[in-house]
Amino acid sequence: MSVPTTMGPETPVMRPGTAVLECDALTRWYGQVIGVNSVSCTVHPGVTGLLGLNGAGKSTLFKLMAGQLKPSKGRVLLLGHDLAHDIGLYRWIGFCPEQDALYESMTGREMLVYLLRLHGLSPREAGARAEGALVRTHLIDDADRPVGGYSKGMRQKIKLAQAMAHDPAVIFLDEPFNGMDPVSRHESMALIRELGAEGKCVLVSSHILHEVEQMTSTILLIQNGRILAEGNVSDIRDLVERHPHRIAIETDDARALAAILIGAEDVLGVRVEAPTRLIVESNHPRLFFGRLPEVALDGGVPIRGYVTEDDDLKSLFEYLVEDGS
């Protein structure tokens, strides 16, 4: 049986840079508590990580974007259409919930076909698409077993399968790797990257930063109900001037190298951690890296290696959250 891999006729085609999801002054409160506070942001095709601490408003924002909650103020636009006004837009949305909730008595295939039929697909088309999704999520061998007997990882996969089977334009994944073993995690991450590469808009809500990093460098960071940062991780990192980049350099003579580097304008500080290890703080890492080989040659101090210690998502997250709270 051929596996459909191209988008169906109904799914919108999205060029890179298309504003797929737009939040316009989105606000939601629960009684006296504000969950999301006047959030405006745009999500484009590709994979985007939605990050935030517990209680930051991440889940609320996620559910607002997916149309599960109604905003108290503001609106969510999906490809220019207001999500609150037309349930037909759900044809373009796929949602993978965080909760471990499935139709336990159905088989994996039955569940997918049922949910696909609720998207308006014919029985034949639903069967074909279910088959395709099961193949892509590596569940085809267990497709005809009751979902109640699935392992935790398989349960996550079937949720992922039902979110993508109908070839939506936007896919919301809420903590998609909960309970997955490393192999399943790796397979699922690859699948998500593929979906992003196909031009779909995939929004992944997670607090496992290194996993998000493996899938995308585009993030949306929320704290206290507000967007703290939006865009590419490196670009955001460059903007965080209060926390200069920390670069660890392995060298034969740390002190000698420190003496050479300290005079430069792009170096804010140096610290000799060990006789062969130097930590440099710089607000202009690209400039610094550009100069470094010349400095090493001219100074006669060999450099064995270097790494930017805090150019990762975790460090960025910590800096931004600390500054934003």
Binding site: P12, L69, K70, L79, D86, I87, Y90, P97
Partner: protein, 279 residues
């Protein structure tokens, strides 16, 4: 082949038709309910009248004739207990099942009408509830006549048909009502029990106009339509209801049918507007 048009030019897909959603949800709900222990539980409860019927056949046919026995059986067991138990057991989880199981998320993120979902699930639970009790009633009849068709007569058959349809109508009405409880309340069962025992159980027995506000009054009023049965529960009810409002059984029948439709509509509308925050 030219590139497909950009998004702004692409029309919003139409929601899935009401009929399609109703059919899918109905079929799925029936399949799901049939596999659940709930069905066994209710089937087990439906055995109680059969046991009583066996006891009656086993030596009490002289004490109570078929009419009297069946009227009492319907009045004391079916209408006073089973209809409520079945209504609660099937009606309350109509939507509450999906909410408690947190599978409601899948239904709320599809291009489907919530009213269609509600209607499909409600129809499934009402049909199954009615079928179970109908089966119990048919088996009762079978147990009553097996080996001795002289036990029953034409009047009894008329009475039997009247009582059966009233039990089925009452079952569907109460299932529909308790389904609304399942949508509106967080602890719907408690409110359902309070309604069944405190309101229907108590208020329906207060002499005067107030009892016309209960469904049970109208159910019993319809049951009393058969004038020909003597020495039965109906006589007893008539004596009890001497000072009670004189409402035509046809009015009561109409009210019950209106209630059946109204509960379905109200439940669908309430479910359509409610927001579910699934954590």
């Amino acid at each position: 082949m030219s590139a497909p048009p950009l998004n702004a030019d692409r029309p919003i897909p139409a929601p899935v038709p009401f009929g399609t959603v109703f059919q899918l949800v109905f079929a799925q709900a029936v399949r799901d309910l049939v596999r659940r222990r709930r069905l066994l539980f209710i089937a087990f409860a439906g055995l109680a009248p059969l046991l009583l019927t066996l006891l009656w056949r086993n030596g009490a046919t002289e004490v109570l004739d078929a009419s009297a026995f069946f009227s009492n059986l319907v009045g004391t067991l079916y209408l006073s207990i089973l209809v409520y138990l079945v209504g609660l057991a099937f009606g309350v989880p109509t939507i509450h099942d999906e909410v408690e199981g947190r599978t409601i998320t899948y239904l709320l993120t599809r291009p489907i009408s919530r009213v269609a979902v509600y209607a499909g699930r409600l129809a499934a639970v009402q049909v199954l509830a009615a079928v179970l009790l109908a089966l119990s009633l048919v088996l009762c009849f079978a147990f009553m006549v097996v080996g001795d068709f002289g036990v029953v007569d034409v009047h009894f058959v008329k009475q039997y048909v009247n009582h059966v349809w009233i039990v089925l109508l009452a079952t569907m009405v109460f299932t529909g009502l308790f389904a609304i409880f399942g949508v509106v309340f967080k602890r719907p069962l408690v409110w359902g029990v309070a309604y069944a025992f405190a309101w229907e159980g108590v208020v329906s027995k207060i002499p005067g106009q107030m009892q016309t506000w209960t469904l049970e009054f109208h159910v019993r009023n319809v049951m009393m339509r058969d004038e020909d049965v003597q020495g039965s529960m109906i006589e007893f009810l008539r004596q009890m209801m001497v000072e009670n409002p004189d409402v035509s059984p046809w009015v009561s029948t109409g009210l019950l049918l209106v209630a059946l439709v109204a509960f379905s509509i109200i439940g669908g509308l309430v479910f359509g507007r409610r927001e579910y925050v699934v954590n």
